[in-house]
Every structure is written in C-alpha cells, then in structure tokens.
Amino acid sequence: MNQMLQFSNVHMYYDHVYALKGVSLTVNEGETVALIGANGAGKSSILRAITGLNRIRQGEIHYLGERLDGTPADEIVRRGIAMVPEGRRVFPLMTVAENLALGAFTRTDKGEIAESLDRVMTRFPRLKERYNQAAGTMSGGEQQMLVIGRALMSRPKLLLLDEPSLGVAPKLVQDIARSIVAINRDEKVSVLLVEQNSRMALRISQRAYALSTGEVALSGDSADLIHDDRVKTLYLGGEL
C-alpha cells in the first residue's frame, strides 16, 4: 500500500501550550485511520496541523510525496485534503445549495462539479430535500451530513473528520458511520477519523492511533486494538 500522509516527529504549540510533542503517524491510500484519545490529547491539533489552520513548530508533514507543512490552506484543499471541523460549522445564513457550492470553491470545471453534487445528493438524500433551506435552521444531524457532503464537494483524496458523532442522536450516528464506510469504500477516499466514540471508530477503521497528552501512546490494526486490554480499559471503558 502506498503511503499517503506522513507525520514525522511533529511538534506544535498554541502560544505557550505544548499541544503536539513529536507525533509520527501515517495514513495509507485507501485506508480509514482512527485517532482516539482523551480530551486535550491533541487529536484536533493533528487535523489542524494537516489543514494548515495552525503552523507546526518542528517536524515534517508529507503528503503524496511532497512537503505539506507551510503550504497555504487553499493549496492544501486543492491537493485533495478536506476537513470536517469539530462542531459542524455550516455557513448558517446560506442555503444547503450554497454551502455545497462553497465546498467546490477551489474547483472550476462546472461539469465535474455537477457530477460531484449528484453523488453527494445520492449519498445524503436529506440534503436534496432541504436543498434551499438555510443551513442554520437545520437540525444537528442534518448539519453534520451537510458538512460531510460539503467536504466531499472538493473531491478529496483524504478526508479528515473531527468528531462527526458529537451531539448527534444515536440513529443518526449510525447513518453517519455507514456513510463514512461507504465513502471510503466506494469513492476510494482515505479517511482520518477523530472520534470519542472509540468503539465505533475502531469498528469502521483499519488502523488506529491512540493519543495521550500530545504523544502517540498506542497504534496498530483496529481489529487488534479493539481487543487490546489497555485500549479496553482506557478508551472503551467496558461496562460503565
């Protein structure tokens, strides 16, 4: 399998907060990789480092053989990385249609964009029903679908998801999880998934990293990790 994304010894700070302390990880082409870990472990920070929302202090990020850190955010999108940020972040005053159109902001070919739009609509029929509704008035679950659809509109090769199940009702969480599997399988999009719902994350991913205070504590095949005792006690919690 080809390596797609590679972190080598990445360090990142917010002012004086030391958020990532030498993280190394890889995502291969076609893979779904899960990132799990406690609050403040640095999961979101990894995604922010990839998309260029924050600069890294030290280390290197490579993507498809090229250096990624230091690249402007729009260029990163153009190279095929899309992110669904924590907490939905739709453009609330814009319609579903406009939100989706913005997802394709970096693309120019009208025909291809229309094709992507079709695909998103088939994947999330709900969005088609609400095509002209202002995004801000939709329910949480619908908004979550919208931001995933919006991310797909840039036709990414790598999709980054930050806690897509946050605040979403169980039934919808199931829908979203299935969509992620389908996107990865059908559209050959690699996925890097940050989830608190570790059980779900480990089920739908091939490999996983567990983070702890800015460092990788554990990594391996998800199927193995799900039975790993340390993971069980730390992240799956067994019986509550």
Binding site: T51, A73, D74, E75, M83, P85, R89, G103, F105, R150
Partner: protein, 288 residues
Amino acid sequence: MEQVIANGLYLGAQYALIALGLTLIFGLMNVLNFAHGQMYVLGGFITYAIYGQLGLPFPVAVVASGISLAVIGGLMERYLFRTVIRRSHREESTMLLAAATAFFFDAVILLIFGEKQRGVPKIVKGVFNDFGVIMPYDRIVVAVLAALMILGFILFMKYSRTGRAMRALAQDRVAAQLMGIKVDRYTMIGFALGAMLAGVVGGLLVSITGVNSGIGGPISVKAFLMIMIGGAGVVGGAIAGGFILGMMESVGLTVLREYGDVTYLVIFAALMIFLAIRPNGLMGKPWG
C-alpha cells in the same frame, strides 16, 4: 406629499449606497470603519479634480475615484487592520485604528484640497416637473445609478464566486479557510470593495452636493445610523436603513416643521426607541 416621498426615495437611494460599503466591511471583519466618511470625501475630491478641474468625462472621474479608493482600502486592510486585528485582544481595538485613519485622511484631504466647499458642473441640466413632483434630472440620474449599483452589488454578492467567498468569510472564517478560500485575500478584497463603494458614492454625489474636507466625520456617523436601523453587517439591512433614514428625514422635516427646532430631536429619539425595541435593528444579528 408626492414631493416628500420622492425626496425620501432619492435620499434613501443615496444613503443606502453610502451604507453598503460600511456594512460590508463591518460584516466581513467586525470593524466599524470610522474612516468611511473620509473615504467618501476623498472619492468626491478625486472626481472633483478629474472632472471639475481637468475636465475629463464624469464617468471616467467616478471610476477613477472608485479605483483609487479600492487601492487605498486594500492597503489599509493589508498593512493596518490586519496587523492590529491579529495582535489585539479585543476586537473593538480596531475602532481606535479606524478613528486614527479617519483623522489622518482628514488631515491629508485638508492639506491637499483645502478648506473650501467644492463643486463640479452639473452632469445633466434641467428639472423634471410633473405629477406634483419636482426633481432635477441630475438627481434622477444619480438615484437611478445608485439603485443600479445597489442591485449590481446584491447580485455580485449573491452569485459571483468572490461574493460568495466573502459571505462565507463573514459567517465563519475557519470554515471558509477549510473550503480553500484565501481568507486574507478575500478580506482585503472586501475591504477594498467597501472603500471603493465609498469612493464611488463620493464621486457620484459630488455632482449634486459637492464635497468639503470637513464632512467625513458627520457622514460616517450618518452611515452608522443607517446600518444600525437595518441591522449591522447585513446587506439588506444597510439598504433598508438607508431608505428608512431618507424617508424619516424627508417626512419628519415636513410634518414636524411647525414644532421647529425639535425635528431632529424627534427623529433621533424615535431611533433610540426603535432600537430599544428591536435591539438588532431590522434584520441584524446580535454582535459581540
């Protein structure tokens, strides 16, 4: 009465156009641009110099006003506001910067163009007088142009790629960045566009009300009023606010004239009461 309404509409069109640029900048970066009026004045003086002094055609002059102000606005965003926003803890800090640039423009304009009221030859002669309405043709031309520009601006914001990017930016900067929108660049474009609108209105109106170096401040204040009425940061609000203020002045000055000096007192008091009832203006969202 027809005359009063016509006055109000005309004034409204003019006001709405003034308010547009201000609300755009506010919506995009939460900056209340105290220098808006000064930008308007500068636009007026550029048109005055090109059309009034050099004798080039009026449209050329107005376009030149727009372009010059766009450049100035862009530079201001890039070298002043961006730095300050990035480094300050409270976004209100930009108010001091905006005020300082307003003073700076005042000083520059006064030094270059002098203290006198300036005017240019009429662009169209003659007066329309029918249906109980008297309206000079040049005002009609300006009102129509203003209306067209407002329409053009709305369409631009709604359907163009740039417009869409700017609206996205105004709603959520981070999400916009994740869409691959060059946030810095579009903020700069937005500021430039806002400044350009100010310059263009200044240029257009110099043909009717002339221009003078001291009116920047008062114009800004008036423009603030309009965007408050309509709702700050919302394009529709600016337009509505402009027309409402225009109408209020026109009607108020006629209806209340018997009570003399209190006309403006009443208008302002009404504004305060209105905002107390609708704290976010007509269609605005809360801010801060």
